[in-house]
């Protein structure tokens, strides 16, 4: 069976989520290796957003429509997407690994008796067989996974795994096929999305960020990092567990559910480098990591690394900088 590849294009409040283009690039690459066509799927109340993806090199765009799809809910999305999958019987369904996809795609896959091959960082297609690579242990291990059995394979790709600007554009606009889909009972009612009151500190404007992770061990030890930050004229930030524990306020959190920053210098102290943290800081100019584990994933994106105990490194570094500053 070879009925092509579907790729999900996500939007919120009338704006397409750019990571969808990364999924389009992934799907196109898979399509090229397998000799299969790629069709985009947009869910919504009408075809307005479907028209925005017709510029990509696609066999077509399916716009699955129902008034209940105006606001995102997992019930409505799973119902609508299920109809599309049943009608087209694709071999692969590709998604970006976003919070919205995490919310409904496992439900969709479950209706086909499957789970998702989730959060993939790459894939390889050889002789018709596809091997997906997923991250395990918060980025500390990779696993090559082969999906088998009949029917569609549902896979999600981690943000940054493919480049959205490499999604191929087509010559002629892809045709939009509007289909009215049935949606059953929706058992949850969303209210309007909101942001918490404006953050007290705007870390996007700082040149130097000293970020601490669980390796800092206790709230009192934060003073060590604070001192270094003052010396470099920078600000203090943290990984999620530090804010979860209440050691620093949430507006200091860097990552997918916190702030996204790109300072000139980012020093990560005792942070392992889970993807949800990396997405918030990987575009910093210079990245320094101090970690006692030489295999910590943070070193994969660091320009400079010190493998060692931060309680030795940080005081020594503070002293050296003091010396240099005279």
């Amino acid at each position: 069976m070879s009925n092509g590849i579907l790729v999900f294009v996500e939007h919120r409040q009338g704006v397409i989520n750019k990571v969808s283009f990364e999924a389009v690039a992934a799907a196109q690459q898979l399509g090229a290796s397998l000799g299969q066509e790629v069709t985009a799927v947009v869910l919504g109340a009408d075809a307005a957003l479907a028209n925005e993806v017709t510029g990509f090199k696609l066999a077509g765009v399916v716009s699955a429509e129902n008034p209940k799809l105006a606001d995102y809910t997992p019930d409505a999305y799973a119902d609508a997407f299920e109809k599309v999958v049943r009608a087209r019987e694709p071999q692969y369904v590709i998604f970006p690994h976003t919070y919205l996809v995490r919310d409904f795609a496992p439900k969709l896959a479950a209706r086909f008796g499957k789970g998702l091959v989730s959060d993939c960082v790459r894939m390889k297609a050889e002789g018709g067989a596809v091997t997906f690579t997923r991250r395990l242990f918060q980025g500390k291990m990779d696993a090559d996974v082969v999906a088998s059995g009949g029917g569609a394979v549902f896979a999600t790709f981690q943000s940054g795994a493919y480049r959205g600007d490499q999604a191929e554009r087509g010559g002629a606009a892809a045709a939009v096929e509007s289909v009215a889909v049935e949606v059953g009972e929706v058992r949850m009612q969303p209210e309007a999305p909101f942001q918490e009151v404006k953050a007290a500190v705007d870390l996007t404007k700082t040149d130097v960020i000293i970020a601490i992770g669980r390796g800092i061990k206790s709230q009192e030890n934060i003073a060590l990092a604070q001192k270094l930050a003052e010396l470099l004229g920078g600000d203090i930030a943290a990984s999620r567990p530090i804010c979860d524990a209440g050691w620093l306020p949430i507006d200091r959190q860097i990552g997918s559910s916190g702030q996204t920053v790109a300072p000139k210098l980012y020093i990560a102290l005792g942070i392992s480098g889970a993807i949800q943290h990396l997405v918030g800081m990987k575009n910093a100019g210079t990245i320094v990591a101090v970690n006692k584990d030489a295999e910590a994933p943070i070193f994969d994106i660091a320009d400079y690394g010190i493998v060692g105990d931060l309680f030795e490194v940080v005081p020594a570094l503070t002293e050296e900088i003091q010396k240099l500053k005279g």
Partner: protein
């Protein structure tokens, strides 16, 4: 109100991982284990709900005998009883198989609420809870960071990306996947630890065999390939590393 909490035992976060001989999983022999981070928060939330609404909190766990330590700790913190689906060979099982086993283990109990963590720290599928909800026919909400069940209606605050949030009103019974940091986790008291000894842990068999009805197979596990050429400084000597780094920060990054 009957609340089920899905709790998984995972290797310690600071564990040094080695690939097992067959290349398909990590060597478990030299690891120590702990509760999955978000599951600890799921338990805390269920205990708080019980304190407000009454009822019982039941832990459901799929794992080998060593997972008992997670169960006992949960009972010591205040859970009322537990169902332990005992199996040695589910460490690499895919999300559908795991969800199927957990769903069957609690189906007959007709819970009012099921709470799961949002993601496991080892497999990181990020989907077991949602699949359990589908198999049990429950509505669900993921990445929940606040639960308001003060009135008849269940209202939950979901975390969206980049600092956005959204409240949902849910029909019940429902399944929620809980985000870390939803509240501060209590410690087990001595009294709790003593009381836990008398609480029921019912052992059960998995409803399906590991690998049955699963469509993803792990071929190989390995350390990720490095993409960036990190300059390592100090060669294991903290002082030397610090001095070299200070130089780099001045001459190359130019921040001093």
């Amino acid at each position: 109100m009957k609340i089920f909490v899905l709790m998984k035992q995972v290797p310690n976060k600071d564990a040094v991982l080695r690939v097992r001989g067959d290349g398909k999983w990590v060597e478990e022999g030299d690891l120590s284990f702990e509760v999955n981070e978000s599951d600890g928060y799921a338990l805390e939330e269920s205990l708080r709900l019980k304190e407000k609404k009454g009822g019982e909190v039941v832990v459901a766990c799929l794992g080998p005998q060593r997972a008992k330590s997670v169960i006992k700790d949960a009972l010591a913190r205040g859970a009322d009883r537990a169902i332990h689906v005992v199996a040695d060979d589910f460490a690499q099982a895919g999300p559908f198989a795991v969800a199927k086993v957990l769903a069957e283990a609690i189906r007959g109990e007709q819970p009012d609420l099921v709470l799961a963590g949002l993601q496991s720290d080892d497999q990181g599928y990020g989907q077991t809870g949602v699949i359990v909800a589908e198999l049990l026919g429950l509505p669900h909400a993921t990445i929940v960071i606040d639960v308001d069940y003060s009135s008849e209606q269940l209202r939950v605050k979901r975390e969206l990306e980049s600092g956005w949030y959204q409240w949902y009103t849910m029909q019940t019974p429902a399944l929620l996947t809980i985000q870390s940091g939803i509240s501060q986790i209590r410690y087990a008291t001595l009294k709790g630890i003593m009381a836990a000894k008398k609480k029921e842990i019912r052992e059960a068999q998995p409803a399906i065999a590991a690998g049955e009805g699963e469509f993803q197979t792990v071929e190989r596990v390995y350390l990720p390939l490095k993409q960036k050429q990190t300059q390592f400084l100090g060669d294991g000597d903290a002082k030397k590393g610090a001095a070299q780094l200070a130089e780099k920060l001045r001459n190359e990054a130019r921040v001093i």
